[in-house]
């Protein structure tokens, strides 16, 4: 929380005024006094230092959040450090005990960090499920040798006594019904803006974002309030009234197979949030059931 140059200079000047040796000597109130100028220079340098500290603080705060071993953030950060080299090079693929005693790779090469999505949940006593995906839109399944290697990776890195099950599924599909009210002049662009805003929201779930100022959702949870916020933040949106929100796993074939987290017609019992099966989600893909099919767009009165 860097202080302004003026605030810092005021602190220096009050320290001078309160000092038993200087207080009676440096009494000038002139804006061009020499000691005032020196105080200003010091304050300006100090301000830069405090800004640098703020940047550094943000980095070590992120680091500290990922530190608690076996915690949610730690699991996610370890998944993003996983390396899979299709050539089978053992230096980049196999975990070894490094010289400092840590578990890691002999050769660290970020080009082999294939995991782009990771969410983790506890599914029973001593049982953890880690949901992962690799690059794609918005992600794609990790399978074959890469999957087997990733499972072994967590078996080795995880806490002894806890069973880690790595799963990789296609994205869950998010279904929305409701009405979006838009501002005058946005009729031609508001629909695409809403789609972009919703995709932007879904892209904050279970992603790699070290140093993010916002906490990343590594549980793979989708929330009604965040969906509403995302739509309202789209350029041109005046208000939104959603009537139904659900999501379904990619393996199902009907919207009705999904989990309903909000239904306007239900007075009580709305879940308001849900844990995504795949850990991440995208727009419902059934023809006629997409966001622009089921969201009405109406000009605000």
């Amino acid at each position: 929380m860097a202080r302004s140059t003026a605030t810092i200079k005021a602190g220096i000047m009050s320290t001078i005024a309160a000092d038993p040796l200087l207080g009676s000597l440096l009494t000038s109130t002139s804006l061009t006094s020499l000691f005032g100028l020196m105080a200003y220079v010091m304050a300006a340098c100090q301000n830069l230092l405090e800004q640098s500290w703020d940047d550094y603080l943000a980095q070590i705060t992120t680091y500290s959040q990922n530190t608690p071993a076996a915690s949610l953030n730690w699991v996610a950060s370890q998944a993003f450090l996983f390396q899979y080299d299709p050539s089978g090079n053992s230096a980049t693929n196999d975990l070894v005990i490094l010289n400092n005693g840590a578990l890691g790779y002999a050769t660290v090469d970020p080009q082999f960090n294939i995991v782009t999505r990771c969410a983790a949940i506890t599914i029973g006593n001593n049982n953890a499920q880690i949901k992962v995906a690799q690059a794609g839109s918005p992600g794609s399944i990790i399978s074959g040798a890469a999957y087997t290697q990733l499972q072994s990776y967590f078996d080795a890195k995880g806490t002894a006594g806890i069973n880690y099950e790595v799963v990789s599924y296609d994205a869950d599909l998010l279904y929305l019904e409701g009405t979006v009210y838009y501002k005058t002049g946005f009729a031609t662009v508001v629909q695409q803006n809403v789609v972009d805003a919703l995709n932007l929201y879904l892209d904050t779930i279970a992603i790699y974002s070290i140093g993010s100022s916002e906490p990343i959702d590594y549980q793979g949870i989708i929330k009604v309030s965040e969906i509403v916020d995302a739509i309202k933040n789209a350029d041109g949106v005046y208000d939104v009234l959603l009537s139904r929100i659900s999501y379904r796993p990619a393996t199902s074939t009907n919207v009705s197979d999904g989990t309903v987290i909000y239904d306007l017609t239900v007075a009580n019992g709305n879940y308001l949030s849900g844990i995504l099966l795949a850990g991440y989600a995208k727009q419902e893909s059934i023809s006629g059931k997409g966001w622009l099919d089921k969201l009405n767009f109406s000009a605000a009165l």
């Binding site: 230092l49 070590i60 949610l72």
Partner: protein, 239 residues
Amino acid sequence: MSLPEFINIDIDKRAADINVPILRQPKFMALLKAFLSSTLRLQDNITSDQLANTIYSAWNSATAYAIGDRVNGINLDTKTYECIQPCTNIPTTNKNYWYVVSTDNIGISEKLSYNCQKMQLEYILNKRFNNVSSIYPPYNQPAGNIFIVTNKSYPRILWSARGTNAGGFTTPSLASKHWFCPEKVGLHNALSTSNYTIWVPNTVVTNLGYGFTDLKSLITQEVNKYNAVGLNYDFQPPY
């Protein structure tokens, strides 16, 4: 992770290193120390309030605060504030009177040293939520603070026993079915559904002004930052 050297500046030595005529030295040193006072302050902020995060008294509407006084936010406000204008009954949200020294009362060093030890988690939960009793060990019911009980692991299959024998007893449900129920043992169910149970004193719930359901949700958010994925936990009703 190593920390930058600038947080360990020896201000007195730096000031003394400047060689000036002996008669003027006290004044030069005083001036230099005044110029470096803001650096000293940053140094203090980093070591006390961002790495370790010192605990101060919670803000109080009846207290008269002078410039430089520091307080913790009230209730679940995790920030530490410094008074920048003398005031009484001016809430810490007023930026004309209060400067935010740090945003999280769990210090970075505390987070970095966390390694899933039960007492560390108890300390973090008490530091975050408990302002009615000691946040330091011991953590137990007589101490009146938030504490954790690790649940014993019992076999998941119980032998059926007649009556109320120690191993368990059967409760008939339907004519064709029987349920096997564990005996109550000590503070918790012998066949608990969780790896550990969090106990929260009723005084904490009352003091914070939240219902237990809401407070559980807030505590859950905090525990999820530290809990090892794969370990289940639950809550006992306030004691």
